[in-house]
């Protein structure tokens, strides 16, 4: 679904409870079309290959992209907001299909190493698997320049995970927040690497930005995209009042 300019949104069904029950968990994916030379695309948070509800998440993403005339083979870069499998899981599979470069926040690399090393066996015995991820580069606070003239600001937004990053596109006023903030809610802080205090500080930092499109990592029974500066400001206020006290 085209959002604005070259920005596309691929929301995982879950705006209603029946949808959540049917489709299970996966993240929303976003795409900036033709951001790189040779009209290659930038994909943010590709989600999983398959999820716990045995939904073929990657097949669905590919099919939704094709409806917009976008081929998975033309993805040139995958940016992951954090190292949770429901966000980065399909990265290596897409790399095989397209040869895309893969990136993630530097601070989540330790979590990936732990998940792939000492913790891997224990996690597997619990019935989960952490998909492989071999980043080509890490993202740190600063400027990400793409192609001739596209600039994104990479922000360190820890809280949901230690190395969580968010991507702000100032020209289009688009903010891709991963699992930092949702419509009327925030990311969990009870997963290893999570921190309530960091999450609050990250949200306050983001609240200073001029955002027209706030793109969240999940729908979780609410809209995945919040549009309009007033709506977005209202969402920050609501979270400060009703969520922060319980974090």
């Amino acid at each position: 679904m085209n959002l604005v300019d070259n920005f596309y949104a691929y929301l995982w069904p879950g705006e209603t409870m029946p949808e959540m029950q049917t489709y299970g968990n996966n993240c929303n994916s976003y795409l900036v079309a033709k951001a790189l030379p040779e009209d290659k695309h930038v994909l943010v948070d590709p989600g999983m290959v398959t999820n716990e509800a045995r939904q073929n998440c990657l097949d669905r993403l590919i099919s939704e992209m094709e409806k917009d005339g976008i081929k998975i083979g033309d993805v040139g870069l995958i940016l992951n907001t954090h190292a949770h499998p429901d966000h980065y899981g399909a990265s290596e599979a897409i790399r095989k299909m397209s040869g895309a470069q893969v990136a993630i926040g530097r601070g989540d690399d330790d979590f990936l190493k732990l998940a792939g090393g000492a913790m891997a066996q224990a996690i597997k015995e619990m019935g989960f698997e952490f998909p492989e991820l071999n980043p080509d580069f890490y993202l740190t606070e600063g400027e990400l320049r793409l192609g001739q003239d596209l600039v994104a600001r990479i922000m360190l937004t820890p809280g949901h995970s230690q190395g969580h990053i968010a991507i702000y596109w100032p020209d289009a006023k688009v903010f891709m927040g991963g699992d930092l903030i949702f419509h009327g809610s925030t990311g969990r802080v009870d997963i290893p690497g999570g921190s309530a205090q960091s999450l609050k500080e990250s949200i306050e930092q983001v609240a200073q930005l001029e955002i027209e499109y706030l793109l969240t990592g999940h729908q979780y029974g609410s809209p995945g995209i919040i549009v309009g500066q007033e709506e977005i400001k209202h969402n920050f206020d609501l979270i400060r009042r009703h969520i922060f006290p319980y974090l």
Binding site: A35, L36, Q101, D109, A122, D136, Y138, L144, V151, R153
Partner: protein, 206 residues
């Protein structure tokens, strides 16, 4: 009933048959079965230890066994821990080193492993210092040619093909030396945990 139906037996029938056959086994066969049981017990104990069973509980379980069985299970437990150890991981797991020291009864073995690990880590660090700048510059150039640049970009050298090759070469070199230490440790316990031949084990097998 078809001939195929005849082949379907309950677990109890199979167990009873095995028990009957056991009586008819030769000493060598009984010894082989016993040996298999002890290998399995050693491996199972190793897995439980790696999953967090404290060493004192391992020792308590071993103490509950007959002396001959205890020595054999300890031996197989140690073999399993050594087989699971490679140069890239053994240093991160003090548990394995603690068990190797305890079960081998030779602190020199673990000291040799620690010395080797120190050399390995120094060699990795040296290789990083020698190659880091060049690898980072090459990766930045590659990314720039794809239209990706900026202050937020930090090339991941440790997952680059070039670095992985350098690391693989170092791993092979030091793994070879680790294998020699492991073999020395196995030889040491082989000589102290040699199984008693069948004629001397009749009581243990019964």
């Amino acid at each position: 009933m078809s001939s195929n139906d005849d082949k379907i037996k309950s677990a109890l029938e199979i167990a009873l048959e095995k028990a009957q056959k056991l009586g008819a086994l030769s000493d060598e066969e009984k010894y082989r079965l016993k040996d298999e049981e002890l290998v399995a017990a050693g491996e199972a104990l190793a897995k439980r230890y790696l999953n967090g069973l404290p060493l004192r509980d391992v020792e308590a379980e071993l103490a509950g066994r007959a002396e001959e069985d205890r020595r054999m299970i300890s031996h197989h437990l140690l073999q399993h821990l050594l087989d699971r150890s490679d140069i890239g991981h053994i240093g991160r797991d003090d548990n394995i080193l603690a068990a190797i020291q305890h079960l081998s009864g030779d602190p020199g073995i673990v000291q040799s492993i620690r010395d080797l690990l120190q050399k390995y880590e120094s060699a990795i660090e040296k290789a990083k210092q020698e190659n880091l700048s060049a690898l980072e510059a090459a990766k930045r150039n590659e990314l720039e040619s794809m239209g990706i640049s900026g202050s937020a970009v930090e090339p991941a050298i440790e997952t680059s093909r070039e670095w992985m090759q350098i690391q693989q070469d170092l791993d092979s070199h030091y793994q070879e030396q680790l294998e020699q230490i492991k073999q020395k440790c196995k030889n040491l316990t082989d000589s102290t945990h040699t199984a008693t031949p069948p004629e001397g084990r009749e009581n243990a097998i019964q």
